[in-house]
Amino acid sequence: MILSDLLGSEVVDAAGHHLGALIDVRLEISGAPHQLLAETVVVGILVSPHSRTSTWGFERRGANAPAIIARPQHWLHRGMFLIAWTDVAQIDEGRVTLRDGYERRDPVLASTAHPH
């Protein structure tokens, strides 16, 4: 499966109620060790109730500057949540169905500061 086929998919709960759009896929570099880098696994999906496109991650990094850009971004992605991959029941073309009793998790990334 190709990442861009997933991005923008509609996310629904087990009963088929609309929850939002899949705007990003959370990864973790933590799988089986390879020669260069450990395997990179999918641990969850990010769902935004009000916007179909992921933009600049202001809402996930807790970034507030500059306000002229950050404010509208936080507003656009208000109510965003993370769904663990284990809570995903099925992927169809353009549609992601969650399991019964899925849990909305905090989408904020731990500090990803990675200066050069």
Binding site: W56, R61, A65, P66, I68, I69, A113, P115
Partner: protein, 409 residues
């Protein structure tokens, strides 16, 4: 001592490099029609280009990423491609205008038809890009461009009525015989001439060509904050000369010979030859910068290998793209189109394309993943946000004003 020399050299090249055919023509036209009534726009543009260049230079030095890589990364492929298309087209227009400007200044010096000079100018641009080291190319054209100071000297030699010039500058607004819409159209053209995106593509890619690190940031800041404003002073001097000589005589600027007329009147043949050398160097230097910028933007969007620090065979698509650009510019000029006219359009479209180029840099300059603790401070974000609004307003107003005023005619 070496360091002081390096800073001085950088400042001098920034002054010489600031003025290109767009600044020359637009300032002369504006001076001949509005006097110094639009000098404030040069001021706004200079501060804007300082802010923009400072941020993109800092991003390049700290993160090692050039401006168009950032644009692609933040805007994604679609909006990035729209931006690439617009920036590339404007760049191509500007390459055409600059090569045309080189040919016109050679015509001023030799009276040989500029169409015959076009292939010579184009070949000259290509061979320098193909063979010369980046540093050499940047310094020589920047230093020769300094001879444009003759415009400032000429303004003093014309011994104008300083009080009336200051009056024009301090009471902005169109003269009685000009429309308000024309005034604002030229305000945007002047803003676009001062804040051309190619300067930033060139500046940020140049930082990577020269392998800047965080240690070079102080030098870069000095170059920008001293060099560009002095370049702006030169721009205002060009407008001032036109205001003193051309405005009272109601001479419309339609060619380079009218741009240099005040200099000839003030200082005779010697001053004129300085002006011609200056224009030749400024346009040739800008032709190099714009051609390189075409290569930089394409390569950085697609992720190709680029840079003059590599031999051409190691950055093949980058060099091929520039060769094609030079050929296209020659083909456009061969149709006999007036380079002055091309210039007038290219500066207006520069203003239109600016927001999409400026926004990603403002975002990344605040991103700790790229910048660590070198992110924008509060003051920088305040002025950066103000300029985001200014740039947006100018971009939105540009095309309607272009149509309403019939390109200022």
């Amino acid at each position: 001592m070496r360091r002081i020399f390096a800073v001085a050299l950088g400042i001098l090249t920034a002054i010489g490099g600031f003025v290109d055919i767009g600044d020359l023509v637009t300032n002369a036209i504006v001076g001949s029609r509005f006097g110094l009534g639009l000098a404030w726009v040069v001021l706004v543009g200079v501060v804007g280009i300082c802010v923009y260049a400072q941020m993109s230079g800092r991003v390049a030095a700290v993160s090692g990423r050039a401006t168009f890589e950032i644009i692609r990364e933040r805007l994604g492929p679609r909006a990035g491609l729209a931006n690439l298309g617009a920036s590339f087209l404007i760049n191509l227009l500007t390459v055409t205008a600059e090569i045309g400007g080189v040919a016109l200044s050679l015509q001023l010096a030799t009276s040989v038809d500029p169409l015959l000079w076009v292939p010579v100018a184009a070949f000259g641009v290509w061979i320098v890009i193909w063979r010369a080291r980046f540093k050499l190319l940047e310094n020589v054209t920047g230093l020769l461009g300094l001879t444009l100071i003759v415009f400032a000297v000429a303004l003093f030699m014309l011994s104008p009525d300083w009080g009336s010039l200051a009056g024009q500058a301090l009471q902005p607004g169109p003269p009685a015989d000009e429309q308000m819409s024309t005034y604002w159209f030229y305000a945007i053209a002047l803003f676009g001439a001062a804040m051309t995106p190619y300067e930033v593509f060139f500046f940020s890619s140049g930082a990577i060509e020269e392998k800047w690190t965080e240690k070079d940031l102080a030098t870069s800041r000095a170059n920008v904050l001293v060099g560009f404003p002095l370049g702006g002073v030169l721009s205002i001097a060009i407008a001032g000369c036109a205001a003193v000589v051309l405005l009272p005589a109601s001479i419309d600027v339609t060619s380079l010979s009218q741009v240099v007329l005040p200099v000839a009147e003030a200082g005779g043949k010697l001053a004129l030859s300085f002006a011609i050398v200056g224009i030749l160097a400024a346009t040739f230097g800008a032709a190099l910068e714009t051609t390189l910028s075409s290569g930089y933007t394409l390569a950085q969007y697609f992720g190709w290998s680029w840079g003059k620090f590599r031999r051409p065979a190691k950055a093949a698509r980058f060099h091929l793209a520039m060769i094609i650009c030079i050929f296209v510019a020659m083909a456009i000029l061969a149709t006999g189109v007036d380079p002055i006219l091309v210039t007038e359009y290219s500066v207006v479209f520069s203003a239109v394309a600016l927001p999409l180029t400026y926004l990603p840099i403002l975002i990344i300059a605040n991103d700790r993943e790229y910048m660590g603790d070198k992110v924008n401070g509060r003051a920088m974000n305040l002025i950066g946000s103000v300029y985001l609004v200014v740039i947006l307003v100018a971009a939105i107003a540009a095309i309607p004003l272009l149509i309403v005023t019939g390109a200022g005619s």
